[in-house]
């Protein structure tokens, strides 16, 4: 197999070529988004680098290095590491749930030495890797068969279930929808999605009964924010006031009253978009969303140019994940979705999410660098 492959295969890519193949434009866009994050965090702290903005910049720097390293690793390594990574992340999720049970309450963190890790962030990437790995190994006909759809469904649902009990509704939604998007592009038949959709609607009452009180309240508040304007609806109402009062061009840098006077909840994490948009207006929001859109378009083009199925699925999975992050977060702060606790990638304060997003971007760029690598369907 080795010799026949050599006939068709292009010459091995040298190191300089690899560096050249890194999407530097994409890297620039990502850095610009992180720069907006630094700006917004500086403002959220009332015009100070402490406690968030400076740390965010430093974290981005190290995550940036991680991304470049990941981008230069050959996809075959990821192909072989997909399963181990997935299994480790599932074990960590179980561990976190168990510790959470003991700690009486929501638990999302795992403390390993000096590090605090959010396993659900790693699991997001792990699910993409393992599903891409799975469909890479299938033939076209197999991919559209029902039986072959069950294993990836299980891979998704195991993670979704473990994340749900933490409870972290936002991440669960993201894994479910991101996984679904991957199954869709991998060629699962449309009727199965329709059946799943109908099944999901049928299961809604069961899901409702399993939800925590605060989750139910959030959903009800989302459906009617005026139901409890001083309680659970307070956050979303204040966020809408902040965004709306920003107007076309915003109140000006460091002049956002809603954030500086603390009317905004979680202004440095989930509601960072609101903080930014209050000061920079719709113009600023369109710039930020435009940069994210650019990332997504880039992701699609990388997926299309990949010569191997693993790369295609990996690139598209990462792109879908980024899109979901952005969409769920911004739709949530604008009152279009319930408040589920999803950060805005590269902008919100928070280390693990930043690392996992940059790791994913590294995978994405890696697909471009090794777009014409030869990957056997089976090992």
């Amino acid at each position: 197999m080795g010799s026949s492959a050599a006939l068709d295969a292009p010459a091995p890519v040298g190191f300089a070529e690899k560096i050249w193949r890194i999407n530097w434009g994409l890297v620039l866009v990502l850095t610009a988004i992180a720069g907006i994050g630094v700006l917004a965090l500086y403002s959220a702290a009332g015009g100070r680098f402490e406690p968030w903005a400076a740390r965010h910049a430093v974290r981005y720097g190290s995550a940036f290095m991680l991304m470049l390293v990941v981008a230069l690793i050959h996809p075959k390594v990821w192909l072989s590491l997909a399963w181990p990574i997935y299994i480790v992340s599932v074990l960590m999720l179980v561990a976190v749930d168990v510790i959470g049970k003991i700690g009486m309450g929501a638990q999302r963190w795992l403390v390993i030495g000096p590090m605090q890790i959010q396993p659900s962030e790693i699991a997001k990437v792990a699910v993409i890797l393992v599903i891409a790995r799975y469909y890479h190994g299938l033939r076209r006909e197999q991919a559209s068969q029902f039986l072959y759809t069950l294993p990836p469904l299980m891979m998704i649902l195991v993670v979704v279930g473990l994340v749900m009990v933490q409870p972290d509704l936002g991440t669960a939604m993201m894994v479910l929808m991101g996984g679904g998007a991957l199954l869709f592009v991998a060629g699962v038949r449309i009727w199965m999605f329709l059946a799943a959709g109908i099944g999901a609607v049928a299961c809604l009452p069961i899901a409702w009964s399993l939800m925590h009180d605060y989750q139910k309240r959030r959903v009800l508040t989302f459906l009617d924010p005026d139901r409890d304007p001083l309680g659970a609806g307070y956050h979303i109402t204040q966020s809408k006031i902040a965004i709306g009062s920003g107007g076309m061009f915003g109140k000006g840098f460091l002049k956002g009253t809603q954030s500086s006077l603390n009317f905004l909840p979680e202004k440095q994490t989930d509601f960072i978009f609101t903080t930014f948009v209050e000061e920079w207006g719709m113009a600023g929001a369109m710039v930020l969303l435009g940069l994210f859109a650019l990332v997504v378009v880039w992701g699609f083009s990388i997926a299309f140019r990949s010569q191997h199925h693993f790369g295609r699925l990996l690139a598209l999975g990462v792109t879908a994940m980024l899109f979901l992050y952005v969409f769920i977060n911004t739709a949530m702060v604008m009152g279009m979705l319930p408040v589920v606790g999803v950060p805005l990638p590269l902008v919100s304060n928070g280390g693990t999410a930043l690392l996992s997003v940059m790791f994913a971007c590294g995978l994405l760029i890696g697909v471009n660098v090794y777009r014409d690598a030869q990957l056997p369907r089976t090992r």
Binding site: A242, I243, A293
Partner: protein, 631 residues
């Protein structure tokens, strides 16, 4: 290998199609986000901008400094002193329970206070802060500051609270202030009254001059954060302090009269300037300590005050009603003289009683006074003379004269709680009792008994109107008012009444005054013992004893006397007087509740107070004010 490539081509075709569908869906969702942004930031931006400003900006009213109250020579009676208060703004009622628990740990509030705070925190729409506790000491201020991080929305405010330096002495006149009640808001739309720190006059001058003393609110626009803490001040308009008031009261005479009343359980003294109507002194004993109200009265203190049989909260000078007894005889005399049913020389007989049908009307002197004219009858207080004089004049004329002299109606003094007492008329009896007026009723009225009642203030007004030559003076407590204290000054001295004349025959008034003079200065006078030797201090008066319980013929035979009755059934002792006798300036009315005999109990108090007033002559002296004011 070929299979591999071919298969991949097929897979890639499907992938591309599906990916384009996915990309399309994402584009649709992105468009939805942009649409939502447009809706929030362009279409509805004005509404949200207003809401953001409402969040951020708070209008807070600044309580004006309340006007201070002084006596006529400038001695402070009601002043403001600094008061450190703990205030709280509720974060729209959130966390109120926790906040109250923490405040309880600092101040040990007690259950009732906790309930009040919770109620007010929930009710207050974050606009106006509520009062947690007043009059904080330094230690409490320090403890609060130390715990500030745990107490969101709590802050210390320097305000003013009322202080009454003369305390009980001036309690009935000055009154006190309290929290604004719902009934205080009626007819007043002053927004400052909504302030939790605002105090409102409840009694006395604090109440009657409330609209003068209050002043106008200032306002401050502040930027607040989400927990209601003020971040900075945006705009400020200063209010206007309330007007300061100079009262007509002379504190020295007020104190002197109060001292004189000390030996009796309860009673009242009123001293009027007969020319101006100025109230020089107005005593009602016992009084109360107004500082208990200023710091917030407790339930037990309030009950004790209400249950006291001597009624310390009751201003007896204006709200105590008593039969005027013989002090009413001047009214009967004037009514009869003006009606020309008697003249100054008419002599009427007295054998100790007068019979009307089968009923005997007794004179206080068992053997009778023999034949007396009106002057002599007043001097010896002959009842029979006035039974007959009243009969001749008739109820209508007597009532009319009494009303002209001030009985039966509320004066223009303005203090809350003043009683009109009762000046009976034919119509009144028909309406209230349902029976027609009887001759016997006229007899009783002629000597100030029966249905007749009067307040000490009304007795003083009557005396003043007789003494000043028949001018309808009205009692008055406010000498001057001015917003800057420097402009506060008493008006020029007046020697002639400006009140309208009652158009009484001056000769008749002179006759009645002669009778009152003879009460004190004549050899037959009932208060002959009170006579003053110095010519410039000579005065005229009239004693009175008002029946509380009628001692029946049988009881009298059983030897029951006034002194043997329990205190609350004994007669009231009354005395009215004016002086100096030649050129009257001051009138005084005294009632000693259950003091038994007017001449013996009330008389000496009246004399001492009147003589003291004449000596000090407060109406003609303004130099003392200048001395006080310049201090």
């Amino acid at each position: 290998m070929k299979n591999f490539r071919k298969g991949d081509g097929e897979r890639s075709g499907l992938f591309t199609r599906r990916a384009l569908v996915l990309g399309g869906a994402q584009a649709v969702l992105m468009t939805a986000l942009a649409g939502r942004l447009y809706q929030l930031q362009v279409v509805e931006t004005d509404r949200f901008a207003t809401m953001a400003e409402e969040n951020r900006i708070n209008m807070r009213l600044l309580a004006p400094s309340r006007g201070q109250i002084f006596d006529r020579s400038g001695v402070p009676l009601a002043v403001n002193r600094n008061n450190f208060r703990a205030m709280a703004t509720s974060d729209r009622g959130r966390g109120a329970d926790l906040l109250v628990e923490r405040l309880d740990q600092i101040f040990s509030l007690g259950e009732a206070e906790k309930v009040r705070l919770l109620r007010e925190l929930r009710r207050s729409r974050s606009a106006q802060p509520i009062v947690v506790r007043e009059n904080l000491g330094w230690e409490e201020v320090a403890r609060l500051e130390f715990n500030a991080p745990d107490l969101p929305g709590v802050f210390i405010d320097l305000g003013q609270s009322r202080d009454y330096p003369e305390g009980e002495l001036m309690s009935h006149i000055v009154g006190y202030t309290g929290r604004v009640a719902d009934e205080d808001l009626a007819g007043r739309d002053d927004p400052v009254l909504q302030l939790a720190t605002m105090r409102f006059g409840k009694k006395g001058v604090e109440r009657s001059l409330e609209d003068n003393l209050r002043g106008r609110a200032g306002a401050v626009q502040v930027e607040v954060n989400a927990v209601g803490r003020v971040v900075r001040e945006l705009d400020r308009t200063e209010g206007q302090p309330g007007a300061n008031a100079l009262l007509t009261i002379d504190l020295d005479i007020q104190r002197f009269a109060t001292e004189k009343m000390k030996e009796h359980k309860s009673g009242s003294v009123v001293v009027l300037d007969v020319v101006t109507g100025d109230v020089i002194a107005m005593v009602s004993t016992p009084g109360f300590d107004p500082s208990t109200f200023a710091r917030g009265i407790t339930q037990t203190e309030w009950r004790d005050l209400l249950d006291n049989p001597e009624r310390p909260l009751h201003n007896k000078a204006i709200a105590g009603v008593y039969p005027p007894g013989s002090t009413y005889k001047m009214v009967t005399a004037l009514a009869a003289l003006e009606a020309k049913v008697i003249d100054p020389w008419t002599r009427l007989p007295c054998v100790g009683f007068l019979e009307l049908g089968s009923i005997k009307f007794h004179c206080w002197l068992k053997g009778g006074h023999g034949s007396t004219n009106v002057t002599e009858a007043l001097a010896c207080s002959c009842d029979c003379f006035f039974y007959e004089a009243a009969r001749r004049a008739g109820i209508d004329r007597v009532s009319d004269m009494a009303q002209r002299l001030g009985f039966g109606k509320v004066s223009e003094l303005g203090l809350p709680g003043e009683s009109a007492a009762n000046q009976p008329t034919r119509a009144w009896k028909q309406e209230k009792i349902g029976k027609p007026w009887q001759h016997g009723d006229t007899f009783n009225l002629g000597i100030g008994q029966g249905y007749m009642t009067a307040t000490p203030l009304q007795l003083a007004i009557m005396t003043a109107r007789i003494a000043n030559g028949g001018y309808e003076v009205q009692p008055n407590l406010l000498l001057a008012k001015a917003t800057p204290r420097e402009e506060l000054a008493p008006p020029a001295v007046r020697t002639k009444p400006t009140a309208p004349s009652l158009r009484l025959n001056p000769q008749h008034l002179a006759i009645v005054r002669q009778g009152m003079s003879d009460v004190v200065n004549g050899s037959l006078g009932t208060a002959n013992a009170l006579r003053v030797k110095q010519p410039e201090l000579t005065f005229a008066g009239k004693t009175g004893t008002a029946q509380v319980k009628r001692i029946t013929e049988r009881e009298r035979e059983m030897g029951i006397t006034q002194a043997s009755l329990p205190w609350h059934l004994r007669h009231h002792a009354l005395f009215v007087c004016y002086g100096p006798v030649d050129n009257p300036r001051y009138a005084c009315a005294v009632i000693v509740e259950h003091g038994q005999a007017g001449g013996a109990t009330a008389g000496p108090i009246g004399r001492d107070v009147l003589v003291e007033t004449m000596k000090r002559d407060p109406s003609r002296r303004t130099d003392r004010f200048k001395k006080m004011a310049s201090r």
